[in-house]
Symmetry: C2
């Protein structure tokens, strides 16, 4: 099933709510959501690196692990992931390993991103499964949230 622009905005808003909740836990404010092919929400989550003492507990990884467990399938064929920040190299690769069909992300991450920036993993010949990807959804809200978090940290 196609996901309309209005639906994409709706799902990104849910991801943003997870990012805000992550900020409340003193985590880098990033949130994600995975939906199935019928646009049903399978899972939502935000960063929990500090909470779980787990450097892999990025929002995307937590969503992938939970969605796979819920669907009892190591492959998330036809699923879509929405995340408020351009995925890092670990998450970009995990999204590919999970065979997710489409990635929508919010703000671009010029330093740590791995889709349009960094190793541009999906353009690499080492990438076995290349999801479709679209960046810049709800970019402003996501960027403001991240900036306010890091500015507070610097004070």
């Amino acid at each position: 099933m196609k996901t309309s622009i209005a639906q994409t905005t709706h799902f990104m808003e849910i991801a943003l709510k997870e990012a805000i909740k992550a900020k409340g836990r003193d985590e880098v404010p990033v949130g994600s959501i995975i939906i199935d092919k019928k646009n049903n929400i399978i899972t939502t989550n935000g960063n929990r690196i500090n909470e779980l003492s787990d450097p892999t507990a990025h929002a995307e990884i937590l969503c992938i692990r939970e969605a796979s467990r819920k669907l009892n399938n190591k492959r998330l064929f036809d699923c879509k992931i929405f995340t408020t920040l351009e995925p890092c190299t670990m998450c970009a690769s995990a999204i590919s390993l999970a065979r997710i069909r489409t990635l929508y992300f919010g703000a671009f991450d010029f330093k740590g991103g791995a889709i349009e920036n960094g190793v541009q993993f999906y353009n690499s010949s080492a990438c076995n499964h290349k999801p479709e990807f679209y960046g810049g959804f709800n970019e402003k809200e996501s960027s403001i949230l991240l900036k306010s978090y890091f500015e507070k940290k610097r004070v």
Copy 2:
């Protein structure tokens, strides 16, 4: 504390035992081990992708998550990881995010590896923490194990 060649071989043999156990669970036979700065073993594990229905359940990720939990620290400073196969892009990035000091790996993975092959993540300007890395330890045993697993799958 320095890790001697004899000790490296010893730790790689433990990782290989985890790879053999993974094969017994019908997983791609890869095993890993993380040690602390005093050469004490913190954790060992093998792939559990099928068992857990989790595409991120590579041996390295499971070890990082468990070691971080055990040490109650999202950073594994001064720790070393030994793994029987050149880490993939997800695991290479996770090892960096965890601030692991040194990576020793067995067989080179010309297709899926991300250290000497693929995106060569630690040579990328996008990589914030670059662990020292050494490949080719117990390479033959690791390769034979992987080949026998995939040959059996093809029959």
